[in-house]
Symmetry: C2
Subunit: 433 residues, 2 copies
Amino acid sequence: MEFTVVGAGMAGAFLALVLGRQGHTVTVYERRPDPRVSAVHTTSMNLGLSERGLKALDRLGLREEITRHVVPMRGRLVHGHDGSVRFSTYGRGGILAIQRHDLGILLIEAATRLPNVRFVFGTRCVAVDKDLPVADFVDDAGHAFTVTPDVIVGADGAFSVVRKHMQRDERADYHQEFLEWGWRELHIPAGADGRHRMADDVFHLWPRGETMMFAHPNLDGSFTCSCVLPFRGPRSFDALRTSDDVEALFRELFPDVLDLVPDVGKVFLDQPTFKLVTTRTSPWHHEGKVVLIGDACHAVYPFLAQGMNAAFEDGLELADSLAAFPDDPEAAVERFYQRRKPHTDALAEMSRQNFAELRDTVRSPAVRLEKACDVVLEKALRHRWMPLHAMITNTTMPYAEAQERARRQRRILQAVVAAAGMAMVGGLMRRLR
Amino acid sequence: MEFTVVGAGMAGAFLALVLGRQGHTVTVYERRPDPRVSAVHTTSMNLGLSERGLKALDRLGLREEITRHVVPMRGRLVHGHDGSVRFSTYGRGGILAIQRHDLGILLIEAATRLPNVRFVFGTRCVAVDKDLPVADFVDDAGHAFTVTPDVIVGADGAFSVVRKHMQRDERADYHQEFLEWGWRELHIPAGADGRHRMADDVFHLWPRGETMMFAHPNLDGSFTCSCVLPFRGPRSFDALRTSDDVEALFRELFPDVLDLVPDVGKVFLDQPTFKLVTTRTSPWHHEGKVVLIGDACHAVYPFLAQGMNAAFEDGLELADSLAAFPDDPEAAVERFYQRRKPHTDALAEMSRQNFAELRDTVRSPAVRLEKACDVVLEKALRHRWMPLHAMITNTTMPYAEAQERARRQRRILQAVVAAAGMAMVGGLMRRLR
């Protein structure tokens, strides 16, 4: 079959590779320039490749190639207000930090090695007629043209043009929410010796309640930092007008970073602020002629670092569904939707909840006790007990199953904590007698 | 101040009248033709004017004029499967049935009596620049022009063009959901004697579980019926392909209507099917330069018949807010948003819940007992106890308050029913001893 894929981001490039391997003819159109030629300005955080993503790349024989571009992170290092640090392990495989630019190029190069896959950059999709199907494009030189493949795939992100045209006049559910927080990127360069200036095998996190920062290690000795702040309020993007304001904020909240980012006040003000959006929609397809994958049908907040991993899972599931119904693309895309939708809904919910978890500094004693029990039970029960983050990161258990299992574990934990509390009160009363 | 209102539906026409009375200069642009000249094809059910809407019209001195166009409905007449009927009163003022076309003309005529209010029909809003603010229009002759008022009001319905332009590049939450049900309109003409062929002082309802029908009396002896069916499934729009299919469905579910609608099979198939959408969004305004009202910011399902009543409340609240901050439109529209948003959210939720209530035929004994207690308590406690429908229909209590009060009452009812159940079981056990 002949596929037109709109968007050469993670979702689109990966899908092109999978479909190409299956022998389909694939052309990918991307509005941005070719990342192999020009450094693309990205609107997305550094990537964390976890078990799901790695398994997917493994199936395509890319694991070895990938590992040359990653920095393994074996756990999370939480930086306290007072300069103290606290480590918690990611378990098993950990998470692999990789720069979006590197992974993008790797996928595109792997796909273009196939004779039946082609990428066209600097070309914008302007309309889709879902019933034919037909897609209209305009390239950077202003030249307009039309393509008539068998299937059009919208891999064009949270504000997908394909989705807009596919859902026109349909009874389409659509939900979009933004956080009151945004983020800016900062860069910690390598030290004079070319090496990392903080631990290079962990994910660094500075949780500060209303604000937070985190940093991923890069291969070249540098770190990519993401500062998450509210848009409005006393400590917000809105309130930071001068480089003195910025430096004062860093001195107060992130003093250990102040010296690591040269000229942080000015640099911070020059950076664009990115928004954080989550979307949920249905339908995902139209009669086997148009189908959406990745952020185009389920953009999530980045706080579980699963966006790309989920997009890769989408790609595999869509390819498997097409292979299961080779003569019936409508049945194939419906199978794809049915098998993915519950899990991407669950991922969206868990990603939202994990934001509070990440930036939270003060925890009630009950929650601390719960967390402690979670770790103890994991060690004691091994495969029969796994904290949520481990299920998301270290397994390929479908997201909704992980969510349900975490809920059951949570109920048990709460009962354990309540019992422990009652035993303590009982002990106290006996002493008082 | 100078206002441009986009949309001359219920929300826009009413607002033009209120703002005009306050001395503002108002121009209303509407893409449809002038309803005073041509019969507009509507995509909305017949209207039920309840206390909220009536109070709003009263404030504008229109109550007397309105009452010449309405048919009072004193309650709901439920038609059973077997031809039996069951009446339940709406209490106090009842609900006034009125045809959208009549009320639209009445509002437009009242507004154009003011020298500072003007309507321009057959003119479509194509773009808004929210920061100036500027609105671009194209009229039916293809002539394009631009207006630069102080404030642009989007009263252009659920798929508002003003909203789309106002929220572009903003962190705007937006939620849209369609029901799996749609509806078609049917007409029961007056009898040979020019009189109604069913009771003319009630709202007629045929609840049938997955489907339902209802009918509003018109002044001319006819009824306007709305048939609500699922889009897909055994008894659905999809399944009704021939006039025989339609007649078989009516014979099975609505036998008493079969003879009242001439040639129902053919007529039904010729009617368009309307979708049912609910939307929720924020923000509602941009810096006091652009603001949304009515369906443009909170379309609700029609099952509490409050869409128009809520749009009138919006109009009054916006006008009151502008009067409260005559020199600060930004503060005015923010006050408007703060005072309306919780209530329109509550209305959306209650309207959704009432759909199941309306079409439901089989009720558990516990629910029946609850309903019965609800009525008894209303009579016994008078002003201190009021069923939800009465609070929505017969009062101007803000929607979120009505919702909260109904929740409290529900908890009490459930406790009463549980206690009654326990007493019964106790009595039974004593007998068995």
